[in-house]
Amino acid sequence: MSSPRTTFNSLTIFSGTTRDGKKEEFNNIIIRPGDTVSIVGPTGSGKTAFINDIEVFAQGDTVTNRRIFINGSKPADDLVRDPSKKPIAMITQNTKCFADMSVAEFLNMHIRSRKLDNTDLMEKTIRIANEFTGEKITPDMQMTALSGGQTRSIFVADAIVISDTPIILLDEVENAGIFKDRVIQVLREAKKAIIFVTHDPYVALLTKTRIVMGNGAVLKILTPGRCEENALAEVASIDAKIMSLRERIRSGDLISGIEVL
């Protein structure tokens, strides 16, 4: 797909200040294509503010005072303001869509606004969204009538297929009851740089870098490498069990044991 967007090489986050006005204890964080990052910390620790800074390309004008550069320099205005040139898509925690349109109308309008002429993008988006959710989405459904999981699935699929941005920010992907492992797999296949705000141990351990937040600031930047491999394998199997259990409960089974079927 051709895109007028400049090639993405790196995203740099320059430190800001804590809630007490002290400088954060890092100089900068660099994110490159294909990187996976998770942002963890208790509620109110500044996780959403962190990805909001990235989303709006903060230049010291948000509460955190952080600054965001792209490809090593301050982003040009059109790259921030023109959505078709913006390299970032954010999927918020919100699982409600306010557009009074059918799924097909909504996606087609988005395709039109990006001046893309590929006619099967709408179908492709719905097909991918349906991989993320157990409840089938059809083009004639109203956006406002979709469930939280369906809405989230459409937004994630849209970010991959239509927005097709090299950087995707996901705020608590695990929340809406969608198949998070499918989401992560599809995002990885698409070679996106992904930043997850998450409370989910499995998602947190899956990412290459883990940023720990507290008091509105970055407290730690961890790159565990291979030292968490065993833990990840164990968490993956626990998670698979929980997911399988969830599907069984959803389909009305009586649960007498939690073995994976």
Binding site: Q59, M101, D158, I162
Partner: protein, 236 residues
């Protein structure tokens, strides 16, 4: 005259006052801002802003009269008031009611504030308010995802292809740096005389201001007799 007038229009609860606060914060000397509010029955914004920023404020209740009609009548006086007290900026916030009016004047900066969660048909419903503005400030942008942002933007563009769109979380002030640039580029009004950018459908007459009697005999303004060929104007 040294005053630059900024007209802030938009429906109720869109976040007009939150935008006003961000504008004041971004002006190098906030003390040089005067704020003027027109509302129908109740408004507290003037007291809130005076307390928070220590700026001169004024408000007018329009009561039974259309607040935009009232605005058109009094805004010239308000400009003179702002000039008299030495303000560089006059922020004029409209009541935000029927959304068909466009209180923007040719020499002012017209800002239309719209909430990102007001639904995709909202821009079409308030078309005149958006079409004649210089800037559309889209608030509550943090509540919607990327695709929805772009679709909402497209809906605004359908109504006003050339309008400057600024997306913001007005509580946090994100994106406001672009509005700041627009405001910094303003030049003072030459004088207090100015004209409206559009013709508002006000329909002002004695019925509009609350007189309930039936029959043209009881009314002034634009009236109509049953067998008359057209409307006539009847003065008091």
């Amino acid at each position: 005259m040294n005053v630059r007038m900024i007209v802030i229009a938009g429906p109720p609860s869109a976040g007009k006052t939150a935008v006003v606060k961000q504008i004041i914060r971004n002006i190098p000397d906030p003390k040089k801002v005067a704020y003027f509010k027109i509302d129908v029955v109740q408004a507290w914004e003037d007291e809130e802003l005076a307390a928070e920023f220590g700026i001169p404020t004024k408000k007018v209740y329009s009561g039974d009269m259309c607040p935009d009609h009232m605005g058109i009548m009094v805004i010239r006086d308000a400009m003179c008031w702002a000039e008299e007290i030495g303000a560089d900026y006059l922020l004029y916030e409209s009541a935000g009611l029927c959304l068909r009016c466009t209180p923007y004047t040719k020499n002012s900066l017209g800002i239309c504030v719209i909430s990102a969660v007001s639904g995709t048909h909202a821009p079409m419903k308030m078309a005149p308010m958006i079409a004649l503005a210089d800037v559309a400030v889209v608030t509550k942008i943090d509540l919607i995802s990327q695709a929805e942002k772009e679709v909402f933007r497209e809906r605004i563009r359908e109504v006003a292809p050339g309008i400057d769109i600024i997306e913001t979380n007005a509580i946090q002030g994100t994106g406001m740096r672009y509005l700041k640039k627009v405001i910094e580029a303003m030049t003072p009004s030459v004088s207090e005389t100015d004209t409206l950018r559009g013709v508002p459908p006000l329909g002002v007459c004695t019925i509009c201001i609350g007189k309930k009697d039936i029959g043209w005999q009881e009314h002034f303004g634009v009236i109509r007799k049953l067998d008359a060929p057209d409307c006539i104007y009847r003065g008091e």
